[in-house]
């Protein structure tokens, strides 16, 4: 088939468009000057300043707490839900509801939760955000684990049942080990999603605590400095590493499953 050279123009334009802003941001984070816009020379001083910023440190701690808590919830509930939906239910409605948190606009989920927390008079804080992040992460974990379940060989499970094992025993001894790579990939996904999530945290965390994305958001509204660039560069590095690690893990899992 003939490939038109002309098509490569939008192709490369897409990649330049996607990466140019990120590259400029990272370069500017090493700026020795005070301006976030004009490069004056190489320096690591903004990374140093970042280490002494209490708000950033608190934000980071909060982000990690929320991500860890919601990942535990999402991984446990999402895995059980995936197995339940794939092996013990034929309800299309339940399938759709389980996917809803991943599909609905985050703003709608956020205000719904805010109304709900208001109704039960829950004081907002880190735990209300943990519960909220657990909700949409659970959907993603369930989706990832279901994909693996669909590809898994069911004969072992059937054999286990025929030999008299109950559903729980079969799950723990047979299904869970088979699903392990999918569960790890799902957990990693849940963790990354929570680290980066802004809108829902912004509505559900209240006024006393902040996650890192909220800290960045208020820093930006205050004024732009190379300190934000340094913080952004670090977060980009963390996300990129997590995604590529997740990609590798899924591949290794797939390769193992095929053996």
């Amino acid at each position: 088939m003939r490939r038109s050279k002309l098509l490569f123009v939008p192709f490369w334009a897409t990649y330049v468009f996607l990466y140019l802003p990120i590259v400029v941001l990272v370069v500017m984070s090493f700026n020795s000057g005070r301006s976030a816009y004009t490069y004056e020379g190489f320096s690591l001083k903004w990374y140093g300043e970042l280490a002494h910023d209490d708000r950033v440190r608190d934000g980071l701690v909060n982000t990690l707490i929320v991500a860890a808590g919601s990942t535990v919830i999402a991984t446990v509930l999402g895995t059980l839900l995936a197995v339940g939906l794939a092996r013990h239910s034929r309800s299309k409605l339940l399938d759709a509801i389980a996917l809803m948190p991943a599909v609905l606009p985050d703003l709608v989920i956020a205000i719904g939760l805010l109304l709900f927390y208001g109704l039960i008079a829950l004081t907002l804080g880190l735990y209300s955000t943990v519960l909220a992040h657990g909700l949409f992460s659970m959907s993603f974990v369930a989706a990832v684990v279901r994909t693996r379940l669909a590809n898994a060989d069911t004969s072992l499970e059937e054999a286990s049942r025929d030999l008299g094992a109950g559903p729980v025993e079969t799950f723990i001894r047979i299904t869970l080990p088979q699903l392990a790579p999918g569960i790890v990939a799902g957990a990693l996904l849940a963790f990354t999603l929570s680290l980066d999530e802004f809108v829902i945290a912004y509505f559900t965390i209240g006024n006393t605590e902040q996650t890192l994305p909220i800290v960045i958001y208020s820093m930006i509204r205050f004024g732009v400095t190379p300190k934000i660039n340094a913080l952004a560069a670090i977060l980009l590095l963390v996300s990129f590493t997590a995604v590529i690690a997740g990609q590798r893990m899924t591949k290794i899992g797939e390769a193992r499953a095929q053996d």
């Binding site: 468009f17 092996r87 958001y217 732009v224 977060l235």
Partner: protein, 284 residues
């Protein structure tokens, strides 16, 4: 022996019920409490009145819906529709050729190209939007390269650029899988019968990838339409899109019922689009 044969189906059936309960009840409870109840609250709040100091007074009113059709608010909805539609259109125009080229790449490069498309998507979108401030601001890179001092920020076009930047991967991926699934023999047959490259594209490739096009458009339009962070960071402080308006009703004006009504309008638009997409995909 006989009793065993008889007992087994019963215990199996019980096992199934027990299994369904054990596996489904934790997640389903979570979904009911933190998803369905909150959604029901959004829905029910649209007919209640705002409290004097925020919150909700549970007295029936249609006032929220009357305010919704006020030209002031309707105008915001229209601007949001326009900006989201423009973003979707540009994403399609850039995304289609990109996905097309990726689908033709050798296998190894295909993976690299796809990961490179998704990678920025998995990082914090506030950071990615923020990067545009550095690029576009008065003394920023674009102006220094061009040697100009244009005001590039705080315009509707900047919002479109930010939305496009955030959601372009969501256009490329479904397009890629649609193009990838095409049988290359169809295009060869078209070429052998004398069709030019463009005619083949127009008469063979494009019609067969319509479902992918629709999915991509939906994936870009939906998050663009309700976004409030990008219009705020790149568009200045005015409430120019529905998302900003909803946020302001909840966190600034503390008018939760009207905020919920705006959210309902947002969901309604999305449901109409979803149905249209499903209908069009079935016809394609």
């Amino acid at each position: 022996m006989k009793s065993e044969v008889k007992a087994r189906p019963v215990s199996r059936w019980r096992g199934r019920r027990l299994g369904a309960f054990v596996f489904l009840s934790p997640g389903v409870t979570y979904l009911i409490v933190l998803l369905l109840v909150p959604l029901a609250l959004v829905l029910s709040n649209t007919v209640f009145q705002r409290g004097r100091f925020g919150g909700v007074v549970y007295e029936f009113t249609t006032e929220n819906f009357e305010r919704l059709v006020d030209p002031l608010y309707l105008g915001v909805v229209v601007v949001s529709l326009k900006l989201a539609a423009l973003t979707t259109l540009v994403a399609l125009l850039i995304g289609y050729p990109t996905a097309y080229v990726i689908a033709q790449l050798p296998r190894k490069w295909k993976t690299v190209a796809l990961v490179a498309i998704v990678l920025p998507f998995w990082t914090n979108f506030i950071i990615r939007v923020y990067a545009w401030i550095i690029l576009l601001s008065g003394p920023g890179l674009v102006n220094s390269l061009l040697g100009t001092h244009m005001e590039l920020l705080y315009k509707q076009g900047t919002i479109v650029a930010g939305l496009l930047y955030s959601y372009l991967p969501l256009m490329v991926l479904p397009l890629y899988s649609a193009i990838e699934r095409l049988d290359p023999q169809l295009r060869e047959a078209s070429a052998n019968l004398g069709a030019s490259g463009f005619t083949t594209f127009r008469k063979v490739t494009l019609p067969l990838t319509v479902p992918g096009v629709l999915t991509g458009c939906l994936f870009v339009f939906v998050p663009s339409f309700g976004n409030f962070v990008i219009p705020e960071i790149l568009g200045g402080s005015k409430s120019i899109m529905v998302g900003n308006l909803i946020r302001d009703q909840f966190l600034k004006a503390r008018d939760w019922p009207f905020g919920a009504t705006l959210a309902l309008a947002l969901i309604a638009v999305l449901i109409v689009l979803l149905l249209a997409q499903a209908w069009a995909a079935r016809r394609a």
